[in-house]
Each structure stands twice: as structure tokens, then as C-alpha cells.
């Protein structure tokens, strides 16, 4: 079965390697210039000492952040890569056997179909996980300067979703979706479409609805001077706003009612005005130090989902055509 698996899926491995090479070239080329700009313009130092920064320093930081916005938009699109690659690899496991009618040949050799699928699935899962682990390492290197200075750091969507162990987990999940859809629909294209659709829905739901709650967030209250750029780099801000000295959150209107009273010549500036009127800034957030734990929890969640799908796959394999 090893030879058969290799013969049937070697092209998929090579395609993944080719895709990885393209990604390495593109990210390497742009990443080199990104890293150069970051060090040569002293962007990191400017970001760490924002208060005493020179105008030139602030301009360099602004230029870099503008560029980072474009980069992150591009990386956001890469979110679908594990979904599409995984769904394709998964759908190509079984669906083509039905489309070409070769399932009758495949399942009448002396290898039970469950073992047949286990070999093929195992190979493809290793390919998918290896591909996405390499991609994650690549993006991790590429985005390192952004992680240092962006407010949400590695917790930002493009960072969290593309840099860590969650990426292989997403891809394996997509493989399982594609394989199950391929077995049930018996059509490769339809299976890929369904798997990608489900993948995107699950991914976005987990990111927005589940991820913030893996661990109780931390709250802190700070001097108006800190708001909003004084957030410690790397912390994931879930919510922030203003409150009065009694700890009551101020509505936007309540805040404006106070803030509109500020005059341009107020001694000590706007922050001092707010301070003198008993307004403090608050934030709830996930500390940067929790990044690793969050990655493990989310990866684990996807592995559990994948295991469920794979179990369903084998049950369907025994039942559907059995």
C-alpha cells in the first residue's frame, strides 16, 4: 500500500512543494526589504520610545505601519490557503475513484478498504501538515517586525492564524472535511467547494466567537496619557474605553460631554484635562505571554474536530458503498 499511496499522491506532494517554493520566493523577496526597512530606519527603537521620538522617527514609524497595513491585508487572504490546499488534498483521496470508476478496482484487491484509506489519509495528512508547518515558519519570520510593533502583535489575525501550530491544525481539519465531502458527494469539485465553505465558516466562527474565551481576559485601568497607543505591544485588546473614578464605564456621549469641554490651551494638554475631570482609560485584553497557550488550545480544538470527521469518514466508508 506504501507504493500505491506514493504513486497516487506523489503529484500532490510535489504540488505542495512547488507552492511552498513560490511562497518562499515571494515572502523572502518582500520580507528582506521589510526587515531592511525596519532595522535601517530604526523603526523598532522609535516604537519603543514613542514619547521622546523625533519627527523623523515618527515619520519612519508611520511609513512602516502604512506598509504593514498593506502586508497584513495580503496575509489575510492567505487565511484561505490552508482551507483550499487541505480541501483539495482531502477531496482527491476518494472522490476521483468514484468519478473514474476505479473504486471497484481499488476495493477488490486484497487490501481492506479501511486500511487502504488509512494509508492514503495518513500520507496526505503528513503532506498537508508539513506543508503548512513550513508555511507558518515562513510567515513567522516574515512578520516578525510587525509582531514587535503592532498593538495586537502576534495575536493579530494575520499573525495568530498564520504563524503558529494552528496553521497545520487548520490544514488537517480541511483535509478531513475534503475527504468526507469527497466520499459523500463522490465529486471532486463539489467536495472541494463544500469543504472550503464549511472551513471558512468554522474558521471565522471560532476566531470571533470562541478564541477570545480560551482564558479569562485581564482588565486594567490607566492614565489617559496611555490611551490608546500606550498599550503594551503584543497584548490582544478585546475591549477598551473610558470610565470615571468610581469605575463606571462612560458611554460615548458621556465621554464627549466631558471631552468637548477641553480647550486647546489647557495646561498639561488634553490628557491632563481628562485626568483632572476624573476620566481614566480602561482595557480588557489577553496578555502577549498567552500566545503559546492560545495556539495550543486552538490547535487542539481543530484536532478534536478533525478526529471526529475522520471517524465519520471511516464509518461512511464502511457503510456508504459497503
Amino acid at each position: 500500500m506504501l507504493w500505491m499511496t506514493w504513486r497516487q499522491h506523489r503529484a500532490h506532494l510535489l504540488s505542495c512543494l512547488a507552492l511552498l517554493a513560490v511562497a518562499a520566493l515571494a515572502l523572502g523577496y518582500d520580507g528582506y526589504s521589510l526587515h531592511t526597512q525596519y532595522t535601517d530606519d530604526g523603526v523598532g527603537a522609535c516604537a519603543r520610545h514613542l514619547g521622546e521620538g523625533t519627527p523623523a522617527c515618527k515619520a519612519a514609524l508611520r511609513d512602516f505601519l502604512d506598509r504593514a497595513d498593506v502586508t497584513d491585508q495580503f496575509l489575510d487572504w492567505m487565511m484561505v490557503v490552508p482551507g483550499v490546499v487541505g480541501a483539495l488534498l482531502g477531496a482527491l483521496l476518494v472522490a476521483p475513484e468514484f468519478e473514474q470508476g476505479t473504486w471497484r478496482m481499488a476495493w477488490t484487491q486484497a487490501v481492506p478498504r479501511t486500511r487502504w484509506l488509512a494509508w492514503k489519509l495518513g500520507f496526505v495528512v503528513v503532506v498537508a501538515a508539513g506543508f503548512s508547518a513550513a508555511l507558518a515558519a515562513l510567515v513567522g519570520w516574515y512578520r516578525a517586525p510587525l509582531d514587535e510593533i503592532r498593538p495586537d502583535g502576534r495575536f493579530a489575525s494575520a499573525g495568530f492564524d498564520l504563524e503558529g501550530v494552528v496553521l497545520p491544525a487548520y490544514t488537517v481539519f480541511a483535509v478531513a472535511l475534503g475527504a468526507l465531502a469527497g466520499l459523500l458527494l463522490r465529486r471532486t469539485v463539489a467536495a472541494v467547494a463544500l469543504a472550503v465553505g464549511v472551513f471558512v465558516v468554522v474558521r471565522l466562527s471560532v476566531e470571533t466567537l470562541v478564541r477570545p474565551h480560551y482564558w479569562s481576559p485581564v482588565s486594567r485601568v490607566g492614565d489617559p496619557e496611555l490611551a490608546p497607543t500606550g498599550v503594551q505591544a503584543g497584548d490582544w485588546t478585546l475591549a477598551h474605553g473610558w470610565q470615571d473614578l468610581s469605575g463606571r464605564n462612560l458611554s460615548h456621549n458621556a465621554y464627549r460631554a466631558i471631552a468637548d469641554g477641553a480647550t486647546p490651551d489647557y495646561p498639561g494638554g488634553f490628557a491632563a484635562f481628562l485626568r483632572d475631570h476624573g476620566v481614566v482609560w480602561w482595557q480588557t485584553y489577553q496578555p502577549a505571554s498567552r500566545f503559546g497557550a492560545f495556539q495550543l488550545v486552538e490547535a487542539g480544538l481543530y484536532m478534536v474536530l478533525s478526529a471526529g470527521l475522520v471517524a465519520g469518514l471511516f464509518v461512511a466508508l464502511r457503510r456508504r458503498t459497503g
Partner: protein, 302 residues
């Protein structure tokens, strides 16, 4: 010949949704028989053959190959049956050599010499990709793969449906040559009755998902008679369907013909003219027969 049958099917049934593709099929086929499974499309031929090959899991009933009760779909059970499916699909991107390698990799027993010799004799190049073979060559390669498994039971589902008549004849001749030497039992379906009649010594007729009749062709021919009588006579006698053992009745303008399975002993209808039947008549009569009510189970022991 040993007492263990090559294939024993007991109460086999397969339901898809609400529809039974095959039901109440009980069949015992001796070792070395060459069985023609005939019936119109949708009669349950493919379901029966795929169930025997382990591709279809029966809804009810059991299948035993050479008395074995290996779990269906297990390696042991799969090794017992060589199977060539409809249209003989092969992996298009594989060369013939790679297909043979696949056979060797995926089977317990594998006769590489047999497969290579077979293909060399037919002039099929091993380096040719399967997608570039002709229909006849594809069928030959599929057959070579099934034969090299060295299974005691060979199942061919419409092996010649996609071939033109000349190739079809040649192919069937080769199948027979291949199985003649060993005690291989062959089960093959077709809707070309005449083709199988020449080659097979056993007959299984399916219609509407039911087994109509099964048995050695010689015996079936001996047991059946075609009775012809004046139409009026039949009307007077009541209904031809009342005759015991009647399979099918055909009313002409003046004559009524009834194909009847007669028991041993004197013929029960002296007023009728009795003729022996041909295989085609026999099959057609069973195919035209109304869905059986099975007051008595069809005799199909072999």
C-alpha cells in the same frame, strides 16, 4: 469434486433507500462452473456480483466463497474473488507495468509471470499508459489483473459490454482458455444471452431483483418443455396459469404456447403438443414471467 460449493448465497438482499435491488436470492454454485448471470438492466445482476466481490454490503443474507465465512471486506474474503467491474476502468495515468505493480503490491498472492505472459501474448505493451489503451486492451488488462490474483472465484460484470462484436468474441474465448486449466469458478453477467449460452454451463436468471431460475444449463433444458395447444382448448381448460410448473404463457391468434417446468415422470398434459426448449426461449420465458410469488422457492441447487 469436493462437497464444498464454490459459492453459496443464502437469502441475499440489498436495499437502496426504499427499493430492493435484490431480494431473497439463494444460490449454490459448484466448483468449476461457468455461470452466466442474465437479466435486463436493473434486474440486480450488478448488485449480486458486487455483493459477491465484497463491494456491496448486503442488507440481509450471507455469502460464502468455498465454504469460508471470512468477514466481508476482509483481506481473506477479498483474496478469494477476482473481480472485473463494468467498463473495466483503470487508473488512466498508470502504465500497464505500474498496474501490474499495483496488483502485486495490493494482493497476497500474485502471479506476475501469468499476467506478463498473458499481456505479451496479446501484444499489449507494458509501457503504454492505461488511458491510451483501446477498449479491448483495457478489458484484457483488467482481466489479467484479476487472473493474476489466483482467486478461486472470478467475477466479471458485463465484461464485454463496451467491446465490439469481434473483440467480444475473442475476449470471451480468452477468458474460457484462462479458466479452463484451473478449477476456477466464473460468474459473469451479460444481457447478450446467446453469447453466454455457448460458453457457460450454468445459468442464473434475474428479473425485478428476484432470482427467476438457476441451475446447470443441461438440466434446465431437460426439465423444461414448450407446450403448444389450440387457444380455445386452453380457454376451456380454464387458465394456462393453472398448469403446475408453468413459467410463461404466450397467446397467439390461434395457439397458446406455454413454457413449463416439468417434473420427472409422465408428462401431465397429454392433449398438448410438447417440444424441447432452446436456451434463448428458456431465458426469455423467465424474463417475461410475472414477478414470482414464490409459493415454492425456486429450485436452484447445483
Amino acid at each position: 469434486m469436493t462437497g464444498v460449493p464454490a459459492l453459496h448465497v443464502e437469502g441475499l438482499g440489498k436495499r437502496y433507500g426504499q427499493t430492493w435491488a435484490l431480494r431473497d436470492c439463494t444460490l449454490t454454485i459448484p466448483v468449476g462452473a461457468t455461470v452466466a448471470v442474465v437479466g435486463p438492466n436493473g434486474a440486480g445482476k450488478t448488485t449480486l456480483l458486487e455483493a459477491v466481490a465484497g463491494l456491496v454490503r448486503p442488507t440481509e443474507g450471507t455469502i460464502r466463497v468455498l465454504g469460508e465465512t471470512a468477514r466481508p471486506g476482509s483481506s481473506e474474503a477479498l483474496a478469494q474473488v477476482g473481480f472485473v467491474g463494468q467498463q473495466q476502468p483503470l487508473y488512466k495515468g498508470f502504465t500497464v507495468r505500474e498496474l501490474l505493480k499495483m496488483g502485486r503490491a495490493l494482493n497476497r498472492e500474485w502471479d506476475q509471470l501469468l499476467a506478463e505472459g498473458w499481456l505479451a501474448e496479446l501484444g499489449i505493451p507494458l509501457d503504454r499508459k492505461a488511458g491510451r489503451l483501446s477498449g479491448g486492451q483495457r478489458a484484457q488488462v483488467a482481466l489479467a489483473l484479476a487472473l493474476a490474483k489466483r482467486s478461486p472465484l472470478l467475477v466479471l460484470d458485463e465484461p464485454t459490454a463496451s467491446l465490439d462484436p469481434l473483440v467480444r468474441r475473442q475476449f470471451m474465448g480468452e477468458v474460457m482458455a484462462a479458466v479452463a486449466e484451473d478449477e476456477i469458478t466464473v460468474l459473469m453477467s451479460s444481457h447478450v444471452v446467446s453469447e453466454l449460452g455457448r460458453l457457460c454451463d450454468w445459468l442464473v436468471v434475474l428479473a425485478h431483483g428476484r432470482l427467476q431460475v438457476a441451475g446447470p444449463i443441461d438440466e434446465l433444458i431437460d426439465e423444461h418443455r414448450l407446450f403448444t395447444g389450440p387457444r380455445a382448448g386452453v380457454a376451456a381448460a380454464g387458465d394456462a396459469d393453472g398448469i403446475p410448473g408453468v413459467v410463461n404463457v404466450e397467446h397467439g391468434d390461434r395457439y397458446t404456447r406455454a413454457l413449463v417446468r416439468v417434473g420427472p415422470g409422465p408428462e401431465p398434459h397429454p392433449r398438448w403438443q410438447s417440444q424441447p426448449v432452446g436456451l434463448d426461449d428458456l431465458v426469455l420465458a423467465y424474463l417475461a414471467a410475472p414477478a414470482p410469488t414464490y409459493g415454492t422457492a425456486p429450485a436452484c441447487s447445483g
